[in-house]
């Protein structure tokens, strides 16, 4: 590249600034708490070849990394020579993008003097996409909602009204869904505007040279990190609940020189919606590796290149159309812990013990008492993360996503729900020299006179997060109803109006032998009731 190193660094920083602007505009104008309070979105800029060059510091790997690898599909459908100014493209194809129909990816080409220079894309979780509502009990993707193949949302500046009408007719909450799509379009426009002024300022015609250099440097840095690890094959096996039957996620991480090949051995895809598309499997695998060995290397096309991800076609981690995939995170979110388990043999001080991992996703819909209005509401909750060598796990903190919870006051203002309590769960963090983070309890009541639909996409209610290096397992989660109606996670059920539902969200695994824990920390945990007296005595020997 002809430009000097300092100018290059400046250009790189500027490019990152444009995607942060894009994400900020999208978040602030969003119509749903999922996007604006939970931050369930991603945003990035791509070069003319569809390679991701920079991403915004927000969102989840499932969105970011799968959007990055999904862009090629847009270009396959709309080759660059057919792309026109004012076009906007959309899809929610789970196999091409984020493995769930609710995740809508919107791409906007950017033109300078009539020439295509870049794409801005973002992926957002739509509040509703029709079908059964967000649950894992569909038997195929056809039951999960409206499928939007890659198509135009806006054609040379003109909205494709037919698609908007179709969308509005197929979702339960058209105002929010269309409002957020609007915000997604605006986010890309703001990113594009910034990019154009940046190109003008530096007298650049496009970002191709810049992108090439950014990607090459990131790739080189990633390869250096991998090369520093000892060659070999490293294994780990993580057990999770699955759908009705426990699933063992087995992985082999092969380090060979400056590249990594990860091979998963997972059972066959199942007839319910916890299947994962390969695009999503790849997203969480590259993320787990990055956390452990290269957190400071920028996340782009280049840093993905040295990592090869394989899973048998038709298996749970490479499910084929038309498998049901709505709850794919119930499996996919456990991949970073699986990868880190394998890497714990060679980088024990840089990995985290497995944690609650699977984001608890609660969906409630029904008819509001008094007004008779239909409501539908979704929120996410986090449990405890695993401990590390040198640090306790974090209580009620997202991983492996950046998704935030929603304040109870907001939940209660937006939906006819009363949160009766939301508190940390004592003893739910696995014991260890470093203790796992605590899970939390949420007790929910719905203000309705009619049976309501409850769907909890929950994991680790049977198989808790194991510890690492002698650390103990965490407490598993639980779904409790009062009166007891035997409600099961991962199913969508119509339940009696008066049912109180309690979510016991699991904690994270411990790290190292609990007998080696600093007694002062044990005393402090006891005083704060993070652990019980019994645990202090029996597990920590206090």
């Amino acid at each position: 590249m002809a430009i000097d190193p300092i100018t290059f660094d400046i250009l790189w920083n500027r490019l990152i600034a444009t995607v942060n602007e894009q994400a900020a505009a999208l978040i602030r104008s969003s119509f749903t708490s999922i996007v604006r309070e939970a931050g369930d979105l991603s945003a990035g800029v791509f070069d003319r070849q569809g390679r991701m060059v920079a991403q915004a510091v927000t969102g989840t790997p499932g969105h970011i990394n799968s959007m990055a690898t999904g862009m090629t599909h847009f270009l396959a459908k709309f080759p660059v020579e057919t792309v026109k100014p004012g076009d906007v493209y959309v899809t929610n194809d789970p196999w091409m993008t984020a493995s769930q129909l609710n995740d809508i990816t919107i791409t906007t080409p950017v033109f300078k003097n009539g020439k295509l220079v870049a794409f801005f894309a973002n992926c957002c979780h739509a509040l509703d996409i029709g079908g059964r509502g967000l649950s894992a009990d569909s038997r195929s993707v056809f039951e999960e909602g409206l499928q939007i193949p890659i198509m135009k949302l806006q054609d040379e500046g003109r909205p494709v009204d037919a698609l908007f009408e179709l969308l509005a007719a197929n979702v339960r909450t058209p105002d929010e869904v269309l409002g957020d799509i609007h915000s997604q379009i605006v986010g890309n426009e703001i990113g594009a505007k910034q990019l154009l002024s940046f190109l003008d300022e530096f007298g650049l015609d496009d970002i191709e040279d810049l992108s090439e250099e950014i990607i090459n440097r990131s790739e080189k840095a990633m390869r250096e990190r991998i090369a520093a690890l000892p060659d070999g094959n490293y294994h780990y096996e993580l057990r999770i609940d699955g759908f009705g039957e426990a699933v063992d996620l087995k992985c082999n991480v092969a380090i060979n020189g400056d590249s990594i090949a990860v091979t998963f051995d997972a059972p066959p895809a199942v007839s319910r919606g916890i299947n994962v598309t390969l695009n999503y499997t790849r997203a969480y695998t590259t993320y787990g590796i990055k956390c452990a060995i290269s957190p400071d290397v920028p996340n782009n096309e280049g840093s993905f290149r040295p990592v090869d991800v394989n899973a048998r076609e038709g298996s749970l981690l490479n499910a084929q159309f038309p498998a049901a995939v709505a709850g794919r995170h119930l499996v996919g979110h456990f991949l970073p812990s699986t990868i880190m388990g394998a890497l714990s043999d060679i980088v024990p001080d840089r990995v985290m013990a497995p944690g609650f991992d699977g984001l608890w996703d609660t969906h409630v819909s029904g008819v509001e008492r008094g007004t008779g209005k239909h409501f539908s509401y979704t929120w996410f909750s986090s449990g405890g993360t695993g401990a590390l060598n040198g640090q306790d796990g974090l209580s009620a903190t997202a991983y492996p996503s950046g998704i935030a919870g929603v304040p109870c006051e907001v939940i209660e203002t937006v939906a006819p729900i009363v949160v009766r309590r939301r508190e940390l769960r004592p003893d739910s963090g696995g014991a260890g020299t470093y203790r796992g983070g605590l899970g939390q309890t949420m007790e929910i009541e719905v203000l309705t006179d009619e049976p309501y639909l409850f769907s909890g996409l929950y994991e680790r209610t049977e198989n808790p997060a194991p510890g690492l290096k002698g650390g103990h397992a965490a407490a598993p989660g639980d779904l409790v109803t009062t009166p007891d109606i035997g409600l099961k996670p991962k199913l969508s059920e119509l339940i009696p109006a008066e049912t109180i539902v309690t979510l016991e969200i699991p904690g994270g695994g411990g790290y190292g032998d609990p007998k080696d824990r600093d007694p002062e920390k044990v005393k402090s945990d006891l005083k704060n009731e993070y652990i019980s007296e019994d645990a202090a005595r029996t597990l920590y020997g206090l």
């Binding site: 300092i6 660094d9 969102g59 990131s218 250096e224 903190t397 009363v418 508190e423 007790e443």
Partner: protein, 692 residues
């Protein structure tokens, strides 16, 4: 004509400004801060300026004070032994927080510790719902029991924050009353009084932060007030600078110290607004660069912008979401880790990184020769000739250029394959670039195009870098006030008395209950009038009203100014237009959707005080040139001789042309490109950039 005194306690220095309202006198004092008892330095500093000026205590109308004491207590966790009383089932809201990761990739990410540990968080069995209705009444006996426990535990301060108290404050008020009866020695803050806004974590966090430092504030301000009177004979009012750009009485600040957390930076922005207006620039970008950070703040129509999103004790110095949220009005600014002491290094990707790690003042930049081994921005500036090794801090400190050169070559030049000068320029330019990017993002978030905005440069390193930053931003002009190091204290002088109020009452704009809206607004205005009438005549008080609005189901509100007086249905159009104008400025479009008002706000203000700057005699300024020095000129790619001027010898009306260096005691103005430079009658140096 009366005199006023401004006293700004900073980390290193306590700055004192004495000024006569008509601008005929303006005196600056600087003493070392006394961290354990900040009032010692204030008293000493004020005594010094009074002695030098011969001004009598009776001539001094009042003292305006700003301090970082409360912020420091929060960061260093040196506040009271604090407890929380909250709704049953919610004692962990403060610890659960927003559950998110502010860093996606750092597994060792930490979250800030709540100000009240779990064993000091108490629950009472009461519940109010989102519509304000009482689902479970408060049991006063239970509260009494809790109060007794607090006493027994030796708790010094307690925050009361109940679910949905922003719509119905009855239970919080009842608890407050019981606490006063049972445990009058315990300091209390209730959330519905301090920050009646939705979102329990943010509201509780703010209330805890306030009460955590409330005891410190009460004692400190009472002692200061007493000493000003008994030791200096100053019996006028003591006003405290707030983060929102207004001042309040010391009593108000004792109750709500959290309103004063960002007072120093806020006052710097106010000074920029004031100087800008004097020069006919109502839109200006305040640019303050010190030893560890740089701050930028957009001033529009002569006013800084106000935000309610602020955090203290960030675990990652500049990362949003890593600190304790404090929902109080603060002058909006962006702060990044770029200051004179920021360290330059080359990372794994061979990228040059400047900051946010700082060498601080100890060991400081390599050139300080105090054991620093990491090259900093100051070292680069020295190598580029921008700083004079013999005239740093007016010559008080000798800088070691040779060591700076060898370390910068080793740490930056060699890894990047750059010559010494190229490396030093890279560091300087990257720092400018970081600051310009931050300023631009800050402006864009407000829907402003910063290219029109002149820069107002202050802080120790501000004048060294402002010209370069202005070039990147394509700003037309840079204004360098004299006394760049005391701008916060000067800003105090321009701040009006101001009190702010807010009430959350979500409702659709097209179906508002105007009686209750009018009642809310007039209640807030009455409170404001009552609060200010102690110091002002009623007719000098003005009110500004705002509505925080959004499209129904959005989550972030947009603030718009609304009409005064009794409102009714006929005002809907005007309010809607104000909202749409504000929304469109932020997002570039409006929507065809219903609008709801979430909160109503009132600001009660006194008049903006008169604060004139002393005017200079005009002259030629030719004798001001001290000599010449070789500095790096980016347009000519190398070191070239430029004239060096003594700032104190420049007269009003002087015209110079850049490149040039103008030195004053606390800073150096670096003009490293073509510019027309002039000195105005207030002794501001003005550089007009020549567009290339």
């Amino acid at each position: 004509m009366a005199y006023r005194i401004g006293a700004d306690v900073g980390g290193t220095f306590t700055d004192i400004v004495l000024s006569r309202d008509d601008g005929s006198r303006f005196l600056i004092g600087k003493v070392l801060t006394t961290p354990d008892r900040p009032d010692d330095a204030i008293i000493a500093g004020i005594r010094d300026v009074m002695e030098r000026s011969g001004v009598q205590p009776s001539e001094i109308a009042h003292v305006i004070h700003g301090t970082t004491l409360f912020t420091n207590a929060l960061i260093e966790r040196k506040g009271a032994r604090t407890a929380l009383i909250t709704t049953k089932g919610f004692r962990d809201a403060i610890e659960i927080g927003r559950e998110h990761r502010y860093d996606m990739y750092d597994l060792f990410m930490k979250r800030p510790e709540p100000l009240a540990p779990r064993y000091h968080r108490f629950e009472v069995d009461e519940r109010i719902l989102a519509d304000g209705s009482v689902r479970k009444a408060l049991d006063e006996d239970e509260v009494r029991e809790v109060a007794k426990t607090l006493k027994a535990e030796g708790v010094e301060a307690v925050a009361v924050s109940l679910i949905h108290s922003y719509v119905n404050d009855a239970h919080e008020k009842a608890i407050h009353k019981i606490l006063q009866e049972v445990a009058p020695e315990i300091v209390v803050s209730i959330s519905s009084d301090l920050v009646p806004e939705i979102r329990e974590f943010d509201r509780t966090s703010t209330t805890l932060a306030n009460v955590y430092v409330k005891g410190i504030a009460e004692q400190y301000l009472a002692r200061l007030k007493d000493r000003l009177s008994s030791e200096l004979g100053l019996s006028g009012e003591l006003f405290i600078m707030q983060s929102n750009g207004g001042v309040c009485e010391a009593d108000e600040a004792s109750r709500y110290p959290i309103l004063c957390v960002e007072s120093g930076p806020a006052a710097g922005a106010l000074a920029a607004a004031h100087y800008g207006a004097l020069l006919g620039h109502n839109d200006i970008l305040s640019f303050d660069m010190g030893g560890t950070t740089a701050k930028a703040s957009v001033i529009v129509d002569g006013k800084p912008l106000i935000t309610n999103e602020f955090e203290v004790d960030r675990q990652y110095q500049f990362k949003k979401g890593s600190g304790l949220p404090v929902k109080v009005p603060v002058i909006e600014m962006i702060e990044i880790g770029t200051g004179g002491g920021s360290i330059a290094k080359v990372d794994a990707m061979k990228r040059l990184q400047v900051g946010p790690e700082s060498a601080g003042s100890v060991p400081g930049p390599v050139a300080y020769n105090r054991g620093g081994t990491n090259p900093t921005i100051t070292d680069a500036d020295l190598i580029l000739g921008y700083l004079d090794p013999e005239f740093f801090l007016g010559g008080e400190m000798q800088l070691d250029v040779e060591t700076a050169k060898s370390i910068l070559t080793r740490e930056v030049g060699a890894p990047l394959g750059l010559e010494l000068l190229g490396a030093a320029w890279g560091v300087h330019q990257m720092a400018n670039e970081n600051m310009a990017s931050a300023a631009r993002i800050h402006a864009i978030e407000r829907g402003k195009d910063v290219r029109r905005f002149p820069l107002f440069a202050f802080g120790g390193a501000g004048p060294v870098h402002a010209f370069g930053v202005a070039r990147i931003l394509r700003s037309p002009r840079v204004i360098y006030p004299l006394g760049a190091g005391v701008m916060s204290a000067a800003g105090f002088m321009t701040a009006p008395l101001a009190l702010q109020f807010v009430r959350s009452n979500p409702s659709r704009l097209d179906s508002l209950d105007w009686n209750s809206v009018n009642a809310l607004l007039s209640e807030m205005e009455d409170q404001g009038r009552a609060g200010l009438e102690k110091s002002l005549h009623g007719d000098a008080i003005t009110f500004e009203r705002f509505a925080d609005m959004r499209y129904v189901k959005q989550g972030y509100e947009v603030r718009a100014s609304i009409a005064g007086g009794i409102l009714d249905q006929s005002n809907v159009t005007g309010i809607k237009e104000a909202f749409e104008a504000a929304y469109s400025e932020l997002y570039g479009h409006t929507m065809n959707a219903d609008i709801e008002v979430v909160s109503w706000r009132v600001i009660a203000r006194g008049p903006k005080p008169r604060f004139d700057l002393p005017e200079l005699e005009s002259g030629t300024g030719t004798s001001a040139q001290k000599g010449e020095r070789h500095i790096y000129l980016p347009d000519r790619n190398g070191l070239h001789a430029v004239p060096v001027y003594d700032r104190y010898k420049l007269d009003s009306g002087t015209r110079l042309s850049g490149p040039a260096i103008i030195e004053e005691r606390e800073s150096t103005v670096v003009i490293n490109g073509e510019a027309d430079i002039s000195v105005d009658r207030y002794n501001n140096l003005i550089a007009d950039l020549k567009t290339s």
